[in-house]
Every structure is written in C-alpha cells, then in structure tokens.
Symmetry: C2
Subunit: 386 residues, 2 copies
C-alpha cells in the first residue's frame, strides 16, 4: 500500500507543534464550515434503544430522499439505484472491486486524488495515468491520447469531477467524449462527484445525466464535503446498471451495513436549504480568489486555476517539493508560525512527475489563507536550495 | 464475490411478510439486548459543531480507554497497538490485505463465518478450509491435519474464538498448538474475538494473552455484539507487531477515518459496568439452554453444542437445507408464522459440505426461541422430501 501524501508529513507537523509552533494546514480538505443544524439535531433527538444494523444497502428512508435530491439535480435515478456506503472511500473501493479482477487496469487522469492509488493497490489493480498539464488547468487533452492507453486489461476510466487535487470542472463535451470512448470499448466510467456542489462560475454536468450513460457509469458520492460532515463516513454508489448494483450489494452484505447514526444525520442533512450551499459557495469563491491573488504575487509560482472543489495544484520554484514541505515543518518558522502543504508527487502515478508541485486546500478563513501564503512566500526566500 | 448465506434468502422473507406471515428470525445475529444507556447518552449530548474526520487510527481518547479494557482482560497492549476500524468487518479485511498478496492462502477451520470468504475473495486470496466435525462440537482436531494444509502460499491462520457459527470456545492448549505451528512456519494468526464476552461456563483465553504471541497475532474486535451496537460500525485491529500496525495504518489512511459519532458512543460504552455483561450472559445461557432442550426433542436433529457466542450449527433430517430454508419461507406457515434460518452450506468452503446443516442464532427472547423451534419441528414433518 502506498502512503497517503496528505498525511505522511503528519509526524513532522506534530513535532513542530510540540516545539510551540503554530501550523496552518493547507494540506487537508477538512472544511471549517459548520455542519447543518438539521443533521446534528436529528442525531441528538434520535430515538434509539438498540443501535442495530441497517440494511446493507442503507436505510430505505435515506435512499428515497437521496433519489429525490438526485432527480432535482438532473440525475434520473430511483432508490433501487442507490447503495449507501461508508464514505465515498468505500463506494470507490467497491466500484473498483466490482469492475476489476486482479491485474486489471484503471485509466485515471493525473494528478489524481492520491487514495485512488491506495484503493487500486488494495484491489490488486494497476492505475494507468493519463497525463494532463498545469498550463491547461489540467483539462483532459486529446481523446486520441486517452484511447491509446486502453488495453484488453482496461476495465474502467476513473474521473473526479470537480477534480481533487486540480479543481478542474470537466466540460460537457469532454464528458461526452469519455462516455463515447467507454461505450466503444465496452468499459465503465467511474465518476467521483463528491464536490458536485462546489463549482464557481462555470456550468457543472453530471456524467450520469448524459443520454446513453445508463449501462456504463458508476457515480461515487459522499456527504463529507457537501454538508461539512467528513466524520459521518456516509457516501453512496449510484448506477443504473443492474449487474453493477447486484455485485456491489454483495460487497456491502459482506461488511454488513453502513453506520446507523451517520445515516440519520445524512438523511436530515438533505433538508438543508439551497441558501446554505449558496453562502458556502460564495465563501469558497472568495477564498479561492484570495488564494489566487496571493499566489500570483510569489515569483516563480504557477497555479492550475481551479473552478471547483477547494483544491489547486501549485508549481513552486523548488526542485523537490517533498523536501521543501518537510523543511517548512522541521526548519522554518516566522513569528511562531509555519504552513503545511501536501507534496505533489503523491498525486501522480508517473515516476518523477509533480516533484515541484504541492496541493493546497483552501478550506480556511480568508485571513488565514492570506497569512499561510505569506508564510509560503517567506519560506521560499529562506529555503536553502540544494 | 460470494453471496451472504445469512442474507440471501431475504427476498423470500420479504415476500412471506407481504403475504401477512410473521417471520421469526433465527438467521441473523442482531441481538435484541438494549444498547448501554451511557453510549446513547454520549451521542445525544455530544457537542459537535463540525462533524470532522477523526484520526485514521481512531481518536486517542477512545484508544487509551480501549487499551485499559484490554489490560483488564489480560491482553497487555497500549493505545499505539490499537487501530480503530469501521466494524470488525473492516479490521478483518485490512488484516487480510496486510498479510496476503493476491493468490495467497488463508487457512480457516470450517464451518466459518461466511463473510470471511467474501473478504478473502475481495482481496484475491484463497481460503483453505480445515474440516472440523459436528460430532466434536467443531473442536480443532489433530494439529497434523492442520499442518498438512500449510503451503508456501499460506500467510495466515484465521480463527474465530468464540466461534461463529459453531459457538465453539477454543481451549488454551488448542490455541498454543496453533501459535506454535504459526511460529514454526513464520505465518500469522488472525483471531476474531468479537464474541469474547459471550462465554458460558468454560474458560476463555485470548490468543494475544499467550506468551510468545507478540509478533504473530492480529486480534480482531468489535463493539457490535459486546454492547449490542451493531449499527455503530466500530471495531479494531490489535497487534504488537509494528510492521503489521504500520501497514494497517496505510489502509486506514486511504479510507480516511472511522465514523465519529460511533466512536463517541463506543468510548462511552466502555463505562458499562461488569454487571451488564453478567446479566446478558445469564440471559444468553438461558436462551442457549432453551434452544438445546427444544432441538433435542426433534427426531433426526443433531447439534454442535455451543459454549460461546450465540450461534450453533444444527444438522437437520433433510437432504438440502438451502431448499428447506427457502421452502419454510415460501410454502410453509403455522398459525400465520414461520421461521428463517441461515443455510449451512454457505459457512463451508468445501463443496457439498454442510448441505444438511443450518446456523441458528439464539438472540431472541426465550418464548420466541421455543416457538421458533416448534415451527421448525412442524415444518420438518410437513416438508416434502424429494
């Protein structure tokens, strides 16, 4: 199993904190937005006597309401096409297990969410990375390049839309091209849409809203970011392919059920008014703008401009961002503060790629983002380049 | 993925209920014992504003208290040797992922908890079954037979103690023999002790309390049965082997964290007084006795007498218990009631074995157990043998 690039520097951060240094975390996507009160209240007031298993596919009440949510965002599914999982993580792991045997391949545009590699490895599946470029903000590039990666062992294409770590939001034409390719080669598209509600000023298209996607698309979703309830561990797998649903259910039955309290919270969270998302999106748009403006002022820094999620990949004027990120925790401080970023190499499968990049999550208050980028700029001037 | 034998007849039970028939469930180990009030109260009163990720290995507060619990039951571990998981299910799946590569083998005494097969299959690992006999109450048998199953691909022995579905509690001498064998061949023992607190009139020995077990034992545990909180989905993986812990942590980091609310409940559940377990054990002892007495009266029935957990394997005078179990749901009723059992074949990896057996869970009130066995007896007299 590969190590998580988001968490592997944690021991250095711990040591810095023990030395009395305040570490500003740009490395992890834990939003500071309050969880909707409806979700918290539902748990406080739940009448539980025996905290029993739920159905393996999740409670019917939750799946029914979830189906209505999807119908409202132009994804025509009913409750029988939704399986509740323990976070988007489990949905992804199950989707890979359903479509791949050992030694099969999964095509993933890189950079990608590092744990995709972990889930693939745990399933004995190989990731075939499709290179994308920071200069293009990580758009998909030519479909011919994509097609050249398909082999007899390719079972699926895995997309994250909006993208973690890139913040890229795929255009409808790109999604259509991918779907056409998948249908031509009779493979699946697994699309991770956990950041669906976080899109800033561009249109969002769900892969499962495309005509003809029914038999080929597996949608991965989660309440973690949408309702700022990462600790719930509730996600889901959505598909209109009955074979996929039947196979996924077997994986779910083996692990018995998703967590009960968290399903109660997630069901109630669906009552969250649209105004919540609007105010959250306004806040993230401002945070992104503050971050972009601040990064633009640092000499030698290049950013893949994000229009969704709350991450971006940033190229730094350093040869080894892994070393630089660790150095900021172990050897740098300014007025008792330092900053933690996620080294970029962990988001690439191609050896050597992303060495001068880091992922930044803009989930903090604007003033803290400003100060964090200031710290980054100071650190770059003091960092002894080898 | 194999189907769960515990849940595969669920559609027939649903149809019976739709026809107005009451189905008494002897098929599933969902206890009716109330969850301790301390656990429910802790969740009701938790001060949550942002339901955030916990550490991947679980909260430090919970792991510290858990370590004290283990020390109190003669398992000398500290918090750094405990990783909190999403149910015992996840702990098992991770343990298999840690010790096995694809195509490796796992030796498991059969009959075994059916989902072991699911977790092994999902990890591309093969189960090598060690036969045990209902006449011996499923004791381990000769260690030579055990050793003959070990090949260069064998990475671990997986034991369930007390056993699901057998109710067998391993003697210390049996455990010592298994440990000696594991050390001789340098393989692991994964021991699932989720029923540790449910032992009736015989001594219980934890594998991890044996001298010399440190580098070879991975303990799987769960709050599900102990505190009647199956829906929490909190378990743990315990080991004194640092390599195992480091590898397991990578799996845990990939899936981010175990559920937060459920950890709050689980931590508080540890305050449950010993008297709770004593009264629960008294109740289960009585239920077992009621079940054994009732089954003994049915001609042609043979039982592997259980001394732990709350299951037993029962041999019925039928050729195909799968068919009989389904027939009880689809074609039988007495005074508007029928009974659901788990067909035995699903608990065996050897083809053809367990065909005339079923697993019975005695998690219901005594009067209901009596009535359920009465229904079973009537059904056996009416069942048209092919």
């Amino acid at each position: 199993m590969p190590e998580s690039p988001i968490r592997k520097l944690a021991p250095f951060a711990e040591q810095a904190k023990k030395r009395g240094i305040e570490v500003i975390h740009l490395n992890i996507g834990q939003p500071d937005i309050p969880t909707p009160e409806s979700a918290l209240k539902a748990v406080r007031e739940a009448q539980v006597e025996v905290l029993s298993y739920s159905p393996s596919e999740g409670t019917s009440a939750y799946r029914k309401k979830l189906a209505r949510y999807y119908q409202g965002v132009n994804i025509p599914v009913d409750e029988t096409e939704i399986i509740v999982t323990t976070g988007g993580s489990e949905a992804l792991s199950i989707a890979i297990g359903v479509v791949c045997d050992a030694q099969d391949e999964l095509i993933v545009p890189e950079p990608f969410y590092a744990n995709y590699n972990g889930f693939a490895t745990a399933n004995n599946v190989t990731v075939a990375p499709l290179p994308t470029r920071i200069e293009d903000n990580f758009a998909l590039g030519s479909i011919e390049q994509f097609e050249s990666l398909i082999t007899p062992k390719t079972k699926a294409i895995l997309l994250c839309n909006p993208g973690n770590p890139t913040g890229y939001v795929y255009r409808e034409t790109e999604l259509s091209q991918v779907l056409t390719l998948a249908k031509k080669h009779d493979i699946f598209v697994i699309v991770d849409e956990v950041y669906r509600e976080f899109v800033y000023g561009v249109p969002f298209t769900s892969m499962l809203s495309l005509a003809g996607s029914e038999q080929h698309v597996i949608l991965i979703d989660s309440v973690s970011k949408r309702y700022s309830m990462c600790g719930a561990r509730i996600g889901c797998l959505v598909s209109k392919n009955k074979g996929v649903l039947a196979a996924a259910l077997k994986f779910c039955q083996a692990r018995l059920s998703p967590p009960t309290y968290a399903q109660i919270a997630s069901e109630a969270a669906l009552e969250t008014p649209q105004s919540y998302f609007e105010s959250v999106n306004r806040e993230y748009t401002q945070r992104r703008d503050v971050l972009m403006e601040a990064l633009a002022k640092i000499p030698g820094v290049r950013v893949g401009a994000p229009s969704g999620a709350f991450y971006c990949m940033v190229e730094l004027p350093v040869a080894d961002a892994d070393h630089f990120a660790q150095w900021m925790l172990s050897d740098f401080q300014d007025q008792g503060q330092t900053v933690m970023v996620a080294p970029g190499s962990g988001f690439y499968a191609s050896p050597g790629k992303g060495k001068n990049q880091v992922r930044i999550a803009y989930v903090l208050e604007q003033a803290r983002i400003k100060r964090a980028v200031e710290l980054l700029a100071i650190a770059l001037t003091q960092y002894p380049q080898q």
